[in-house]
Symmetry: C2
Subunit: 300 residues, 2 copies
C-alpha cells in the first residue's frame, strides 16, 4: 500500500494537481460535491483514506462561498480516517485585511487564518499579501510555508523578453520586483501609488523615462480591479515609454478588470496559475513540487 | 447605561428584529458589511458593544456564502468587547444532512453545528428538521433552544379558515400537523411519501376523501423543491377534494418552486417569516419574544 499523500483538487486547481501528480506520483483522490435544490451541499469521497496524508489544493479567491464546501470536505476526510490534511492555497484570501482601517472593524486576516487553522494541519501558499502582517506565523496556529512565484516569473521573462525594465507600481510590490530583477539581471524602478478608494489610484512622478529603449514589465502581486496597473500604464504612455507587459502573480480580475486592462496601454497581460484565468502563462507548480519533495516530512 | 442585549439583523431578518425591538426595547445595532471589488468583505460596527450581550438574527437558508460574513461579524463583535453572542437562526441549515446516506460521505449537520458552536455562545431556532438527530444537544456544544411555529400557524388557521382538515404529506410532518390539529381542534391525516430522488416523490393511498366537505390544509416544515406538496395536491385533485391551502414553516423555494406550486392545484400558499419570502403571512416573532422574555438570563 502506498504511503504517499492523496491529492484533492478544489475550485479549478486541476492544472497544479496534475503537475504534482506527474512529478511526484501522488494519487489524485476522487471527490464529488453534490448540490441539493436548496443549495446545501454534501461531499462524497471515493478513495480509501485510512491513515493517509491528504493534500487539498484550493485557490481561495472569491472565498465566501468556497469555505463551507472546503470545511465539510476536510471534516469528511478526517472522519474517513485520514491522518493529516495539508491545504495548498496557491492564492490565500483576506490577507489585505491586515489591520483595523476604521473604528468598529476587526482584523479579518486573523479571523480567516484562525478558522483555517481549525480544519487543516498545515498550509502552503504562494506569495501571500504580507504587508503589515510580516509572517503567516503571526496569524496561523498551524505550520505554514510561503513559496514564491519569482523564480517562475524570472524564468518567463528571461525566455520571452529582450532588454526589459521591471516596474513595481507601488512600494508593496518592491519585494517581488527586486527579486525578479536580481534573477533576470534587469534594471528596475519602484513607483509610489496613492490609493484614493477601492477603484481609484494615482501614481507619483519618477525617472523611468531613462528606460525608453527598454520593454517595461509591470509586476504586481494581485491584479484585482486592475486600476493600479491601468494608472501606471497611463503614466508610462505620458512619458512615451513602450507599451508594457503586465505580470501579476494572482489573477483575481474583479468585474470587467481583465478587458479594461487589455484595452489599456499594454502589449500583453500575463499571470501565474495560482488562480485559473485565461491570462495564465506562468506555471508555479514547480515551486510546490520542489517544496513537497524536500520538506513534506518536516511540515506534515 | 442599558444592559439589555443589542440586536443585529443579517440576511433580510429585519422584520423579526424590528418586532423584538418593539416588544422588548432592545437596541438595534448598526452594522455594515462592505464588499471589496475582489468580493472579500469587511464588517464595521457603529455601536458601543463593551460588556453587552449581543443577539444576531440570521436566517441560514442558502447558507454557503453567508457563513464567512457571519463568522467575521461574530469575531469583530467579540473583539469590540461584547460579552456573549446569541445566534437566532429562524431557519437552521444543513439539518437534513443528518446521516451518512452513502459510503464516503460525512454527517454535514454535525460539522455545521460544530462550526457554529465555535463562534456563538447560544443558539435559538424555529422548528429545525429534527429527524434522525432528535435533539440539537446531540450536535451543538453550546446551549440551544428549539421554538415552534405551531402556535402561530394554528392562530392563522383559526382566524382564516372555516372547517379545515389538516394534511401532513409525510411521516416527518406528523409532529407539526398533530400539534396544529390539537391547537385548532381540527381533524388531520398523515400521508406516506416515497422520495425517489431530489426532485421526485410519490404519495401512497389513504382515506382523506372522507373530508371532501373540508378545506384541506397541507402543512410541511420546509418547502424546497415544492415537489412533495405538488404531488400531494395532485393526489387531492384526483380524489375530488377542494383546492388545498399549503402552509410551510420555512420558505426555501429553490429555483422555480414557488411559481410551480402557485400553478398547482392550490388555493393559497402561506409561509412563516423564518425566511423572508413573498408568501410570508405568519409571523413567528412572538415565539422568540416570549422566549427571550422568560429565558434569556438562563440561556445567556
Amino acid at each position: 500500500m502506498s504511503t504517499l499523500p492523496i491529492l484533492f483538487s478544489f475550485f479549478d486547481s486541476e492544472s497544479i494537481v496534475n503537475h504534482i501528480h506527474q512529478a511526484l506520483n501522488y494519487e489524485i483522490g476522487k471527490l464529488q460535491i453534490h448540490e441539493f435544490p436548496d443549495q446545501e451541499i454534501v461531499v462524497k469521497i471515493e478513495s480509501d483514506l485510512t491513515m493517509r496524508d491528504i493534500i487539498f489544493v484550493a485557490s481561495l479567491d472569491h472565498p465566501n462561498a468556497k469555505i463551507l464546501p472546503l470545511i465539510f470536505a476536510a471534516e469528511t476526510v478526517r472522519n474517513l480516517g485520514a491522518k493529516k490534511i495539508m491545504l495548498i492555497a496557491p492564492y490565500l484570501a483576506y490577507m489585505r485585511q491586515d489591520k483595523i482601517f476604521e473604528a468598529g472593524q476587526g482584523i479579518i486576516a486573523q479571523y480567516f487564518a484562525k478558522m483555517l487553522s481549525q480544519y487543516f494541519d498545515s498550509l502552503i501558499t504562494i506569495d501571500p499579501h504580507l504587508h503589515r502582517i510580516h509572517s503567516l506565523k503571526e496569524i496561523f496556529s498551524i505550520p505554514t510555508a510561503v513559496l514564491h512565484a519569482t523564480n517562475a516569473i524570472a524564468s518567463w521573462i528571461s525566455h520571452q523578453v529582450v532588454n526589459p525594465v521591471l516596474i513595481g507600481p507601488d512600494m508593496e510590490s518592491a519585494q517581488w520586483v527586486h527579486e525578479v530583477a536580481k534573477k533576470t539581471n534587469s534594471p528596475y524602478v519602484i513607483l509610489n501609488k496613492i490609493r484614493k478608494n477601492d477603484y481609484t489610484v494615482e501614481i507619483s512622478e519618477n525617472n523611468i523615462e531613462h528606460y525608453r529603449a527598454c520593454i517595461p514589465i509591470l509586476i504586481d502581486d494581485i491584479i484585482s480591479s486592475g486600476m493600479t496597473l491601468i494608472e501606471t500604464t497611463k503614466h508610462l504612455e505620458s512619458l512615451k515609454m513602450k507599451k508594457p507587459i503586465c505580470i501579476g502573480v494572482h489573477a483575481i480580475f474583479s468585474g470587467d478588470a481583465y478587458p479594461h486592462l487589455m484595452n489599456a496601454y499594454v502589449s500583453k497581460v500575463v499571470t501565474c496559475n495560482t488562480i485559473q484565468h485565461p491570462s495564465n502563462a506562468i506555471d508555479i507548480s514547480d515551486e510546490i513540487i520542489q517544496f513537497l519533495k524536500k520538506e513534506q516530512t518536516q511540515l506534515g
